[in-house]
C-alpha cells in the first residue's frame, strides 16, 4: 500500500503494538501529529516539556519492559529531549524517540528550528537515523524498535525531515530483520559456564554482585533460584533493587557509596565475585584497585564492551543473563553444596548485626528515612516507586522494602534531577492498577514541576512525596563533610507553597510536619485517586550514611558523622 511518511510512522507504531506515546508537537513534526489525530490505536499524552516526554516514555519502558515511544519537534524540541535520551542511554532503557527535522532541502541552511539532531544525539543513544526518503521509513522504524529492545537495550533516535513525512511511498513493514552488522549474543558459551561453576565449587567466600542487567533481561526469578540452590549471599546495585526481594535471607542489601556495611564488606572479603549484569560504576566500586581485590571474577553481560572495561575478569561470559543463569542452575544444583558457605554467611550476618543500616528517629521532627520506611510498611507491595536524584533517592534505595523487579524507577547512571515526576506518570500509564509514588526533594521537584498539568489533564493519579529539607541536600551533605560547611548555593529556604502550587494545577496538596499527619495524608492521597503532592518537612541536616567518600575504599566506610 502507498502511504505518506507520517502515515507510515503511525502504521509502524501499530505494528509494534505501541499503546502510549508521550510527546510535544511543533512545526517540523506537524504532519505526523495530524495522523496521530486521525487514529485511535494508541494514546498520545501531551507533556508540558519535551524532556518530560522522554522521561515518561523511559519510565513506561522501565516499569513494563516494553519499548517506550516519544515524539518531539526539531530544534529546541529535540535539544530539550537530549537529557532524556542520555538518561535512558546510561541506564540501558529501550526507547524509540522520533523527532521532526526541517525539510531535507533546507538542512544545512541554518533554517528556523534547525539543529544537527543526529550529530547531537550520537553519543547519547544506542543508534540513530536521519531518514532521507519515505521509502526507507518502514525498514528504519522496524530496525529502530529491534535495536532498542534487543541485546543491551537502549534508546534509538529517528530524525525525520518534514518533507519526508509528506512524501508518498510504498509501505511494506518488514516481517523480519536483516541486519548483517548487528547480531547480539544471547546464549552463553557452555565451556565458560562450566568453568564458572568450577570456580564456584572451589570458592570459599563467593558473593553475587547483581546489576541492572538482571532487570533488563528479566532474570530475577532465575537469580533467586540460583541464590537458593547455592546459598551464596547477594548484593544489589542501585539499578538492581527488587531483583532478590527485600525479605530474601541471602540479600545483604545495596553496595557502593551509600551501600550497607555488610554488602561492602562482602565484596571486600570475597574470594569469588559472580557479577550478574553490573557495570562496575565508580559509585559502586570506590577506588578500583581496592575493589574486591581478593576475588576472582565471573562476569556475565550481554554487552562485551562492559566486560573487562574497568577490572580484569577471570571468567567472562557474553550472553543474556537470563539464559546464562538458567543454564547455570542445573549445574549448580548438581555440584554446589550450599552448606559449604555457612560460616561465610554467618560472618556477613554478624557484620550486619554490628553495623546495620540505621538512622536515629526523633520525636521532634520527621526523619526522611522514617517516611520511606513508613510508605514501605503501608503500601510496599502495591506501589511502584520513582525518585528524583539526591539524598531522597539514596534513602529510598536504602530503606524502601522492594519486593519485585522493575518496582524501583530511578535515574542511576546519569543522575538526572527532574526525572521523578514525569517518570511516575509513565509508570502509572504502564501499570494503572498499581500506586505510583514519586519520592522527590524540594530541589528536584521544581525541575519538571510543569508535569503536574499533564498528570491532571490525563487523570494520572501520581503521589509525589517531597522530603523537604530546604536544601539541595546531597550537595549540602558534601559541603558539610568536605567543604568545611561553606553552603555555597545549596540553601533553598525560599520556596513556593507546594500545597497551593499543586492545587493551582488542579491536584491535592498536604503539608506534613508530624508522623500522624503523614499517615493521614498518605491514606487520603491513595483514597482520593488524584494528583497529589505531600510536602513533608523533614530534619534539615540529616545525612545519607553510611558513606564511602568518592575514590575511597568499600571496606573503609564513614559509618556516622560527628561534628
Amino acid at each position: 500500500m502507498e502511504l505518506s511518511g507520517s502515515q507510515m510512522v503511525v502504521e509502524a507504531l501499530k505494528r509494534e503494538s505501541v499503546k502510549v506515546v508521550f510527546g510535544y508537537p511543533g512545526g517540523a513534526i506537524m504532519n505526523v501529529y495530524d495522523e496521530v489525530y486521525k487514529q485511535d490505536f494508541f494514546e498520545h499524552i501531551l507533556t508540558r516539556h519535551e524532556q518530560a516526554a522522554i522521561h515518561a516514555a523511559d519510565a513506561y519502558a522501565r516499569s513494563s519492559g516494553n519499548v517506550g515511544v516519544a515524539f518531539v519537534t526539531s530544534g529546541p524540541g529535540f535539544t530539550n529531549a537530549v537529557t532524556g535520551l542520555a538518561t535512558a542511554y546510561m541506564d540501558s532503557v529501550p526507547m524509540v524517540v522520533i523527532s521532526g527535522q526541517v525539510p531535507i532541502t533546507m538542512i544545512g541552511t541554518d533554517a528556523f528550528q534547525e539543529i544537527d539532531a543526529v550529530g547531537i544525539s550520537r553519543p547519547c543513544v544506542k543508534h540513530n537515523y536521519l531518514v532521507k526518503k519515505a521509502e526507507d521509513l518502514p525498514r528504519i522504524l522496524k530496525e529502530a524498535f529491534y535495536i532498542a529492545r534487543s541485546g543491551r537495550p537502549g534508546p534509538v533516535h529517528v530524525d525525520i525531515p518534514k518533507d519526508v513525512t509528506a512524501q508518498i511511498a510504498k509501505f511494506e513493514y518488514p516481517e523480519t530483520i536483516k541486519m548483517k552488522t548487528y547480531k547480539p549474543t544471547y546464549k552463553g558459551n557452555v565451556r565458560q559456564i562450566k568453568k564458572a561453576i568450577d570456580a564456584i565449587v572451589n570458592a570459599k567466600r563467593p558473593v553475587l554482585y547483581i546489576g541492572g542487567g538482571a532487570i533488563n533481561s528479566n532474570a530475577s526469578e532465575y537469580i533467586r533460584e540460583f541464590a537458593k540452590i547455592t546459598g551464596i549471599p547477594a548484593v544489589e546495585t542501585l539499578m538492581a533493587r527488587g531483583v532478590m526481594g527485600h525479605d530474601n535471607p541471602l540479600l545483604l542489601g545495596m553496595l557502593g557509596m551509600h551501600g550497607c556495611y555488610s554488602a561492602n564488606m562482602a565484596m571486600s572479603e570475597a574470594d569469588l565475585m559472580i557479577a550478574f549484569g553490573p557495570r562496575f560504576d565508580d559509585r559502586v566500586t570506590g577506588k578500583l584497585s581496592e575493589f574486591a581485590k581478593h576475588a576472582k571474577i565471573i562476569h556475565i553481560d550481554i554487552d562485551p564492551s562492559s566486560i573487562g572495561k574497568l577490572v580484569n575478569v577471570d571468567f567472562p561470559i557474553v550472553g543474556d543473563l537470563k539464559n546464562v543463569v538458567e543454564a547455570m542452575n542445573p549445574l549448580a544444583k548438581e555440584r554446589v553444596d550450599p552448606s559449604k558457605y555457612k560460616s561465610w554467611r554467618d560472618l556477613l550476618n554478624r557484620y550486619n548485626e554490628i553495623h546495620p543500616l540505621k538512622y536515629e528517629d526523633s520525636s521532634e521532627n520527621i526523619k526522611p528515612q522514617w517516611v520511606i520506611e513508613r510508605v514501605g510498611e503501608l503500601v510496599g507491595k502495591d506501589a511502584f516507586i520513582s525518585t528524583d536524584v539526591g539524598q531522597h533517592q539514596m534513602w529510598t534505595a536504602q530503606f524502601f522494602p522492594f519486593t519485585f523487579p522493575r518496582q524501583f524507577i530511578t535515574s542511576g547512571g546519569l543522575g538526572t534531577m527532574g526525572f521523578g515526576l514525569p517518570a511516575a506518570l509513565g509508570v502509572k500509564r504502564a501499570n494503572p492498577d498499581k500506586i505510583s509514588i514519586n519520592f522527590t526533594g524540594d530541589g528536584s521537584i521544581l525541575m519538571n514541576i510543569q508535569e503536574l498539568m499533564t498528570a491532571v489533564e490525563y487523570n494520572i493519579p501520581v503521589i509525589n512525596i517531597i522530603l523537604n529539607n530546604k536544601f539541595l541536600g546531597m550537595v549540602r551533605q558534601w559541603q558539610t563533610f568536605f567543604y568545611e560547611k561553606r553552603y555555597s548555593s545549596t540553601d533553598i529556604e525560599v520556596q513556593p507553597d507546594f500545597v497551593k502550587l499543586v492545587e493551582s494545577f488542579g491536584g491535592v496538596g498536604f503539608r506534613v510536619k508530624t508522623k500522624e499527619e503523614f499517615d493521614k495524608a498518605l491514606k487520603d492521597a491513595i483514597e482520593c485517586n488524584k494528583v497529589v503532592m505531600i510536602d513533608v518537612h523533614v530534619d534539615r541536616m540529616e545525612n545519607v550514611l553510611p558513606m564511602v567518600p568518592a575514590g575511597g575504599t568499600l571496606y573503609n566506610m564513614m559509618l556516622e558523622y560527628k561534628e
Binding site: G119, R122, P123, M179, K180, T181, Y182, S305, G308
Partner: protein, 156 residues
C-alpha cells in the same frame, strides 16, 4: 601499563554518518587516532577504515569492543600479519640540488609523481616507519609541503 601502537582494519556499512560515529567514539572516550583512512570496498555495501591508534592493553581492548558495538560495524580486524603501507607526497622547489635524491627514491619505493615550472612532487609508498625516516631525510631538499596519507593495511 605500556602504550602500544595498533593497526585496526574496520569493515563498516558504507552509509551516511558512519565516519562521524567512529571519530565521535574516539573523541568522546579520549582514544588516540594516529591516522585514519577510509574508502569503499569495491562491489560491496561496505567501507574499510584503517585506523592507527595507541594505548595500553585495556584501552586497546576497549577500542576494539566499542568499535564492534557500533551498529554499522561488520568486522574489526586486528592482526600481527598486516602488510601496512602509507603514501606520502613531497613538494620540492626546482632550484634545490637534487644530488642523491634518485638513490633515496629507489630505497623507499619512490618516484617523481609530477613536475612543474618551479617544483617537483615526489611520492613514496612504504611502511609507516620508513615513511617517517624518509620524511626526515628529505628535509635537506627543503620541501615546501609534505602530505602523509595515513596507513592502509591488509591481513595476509
Amino acid at each position: 601499563m605500556d602504550n602500544q601502537r595498533r593497526v585496526l582494519s574496520v569493515i563498516v556499512m558504507n552509509e551516511d554518518g558512519v565516519l562521524s560515529r567512529i571519530s565521535g567514539l574516539f573523541a568522546g572516550r579520549g582514544y588516540n587516532i594516529d591516522s585514519l583512512t577510509v574508502a569503499p570496498i569495491p562491489n560491496t555495501e561496505f567501507s574499510r577504515l584503517t585506523i592507527v591508534t595507541s594505548g595500553n592493553q585495556r584501552v586497546l581492548e576497549q577500542i576494539i569492543k566499542q568499535l564492534h558495538k557500533l551498529i554499522p560495524t561488520y568486522k574489526v580486524i586486528e592482526s600481527d600479519t598486516f602488510v601496512e603501507k602509507e603514501l606520502a607526497l613531497v613538494k620540492i622547489p626546482l632550484n634545490e640540488d637534487f644530488s642523491g635524491l634518485d638513490m633515496m627514491l629507489k630505497a623507499y619505493n619512490g618516484t617523481v609523481a609530477a613536475s612543474g615550472e618551479n617544483y617537483i612532487v615526489i611520492m613514496i609508498a612504504d611502511d609507516s616507519k620508513k615513511v617517517g625516516n624518509f620524511l626526515k631525510a628529505v628535509k635537506k631538499y627543503n620541501p615546501t609541503e609534505i602530505v602523509r596519507g595515513g596507513s592502509v593495511a591488509l591481513d595476509v
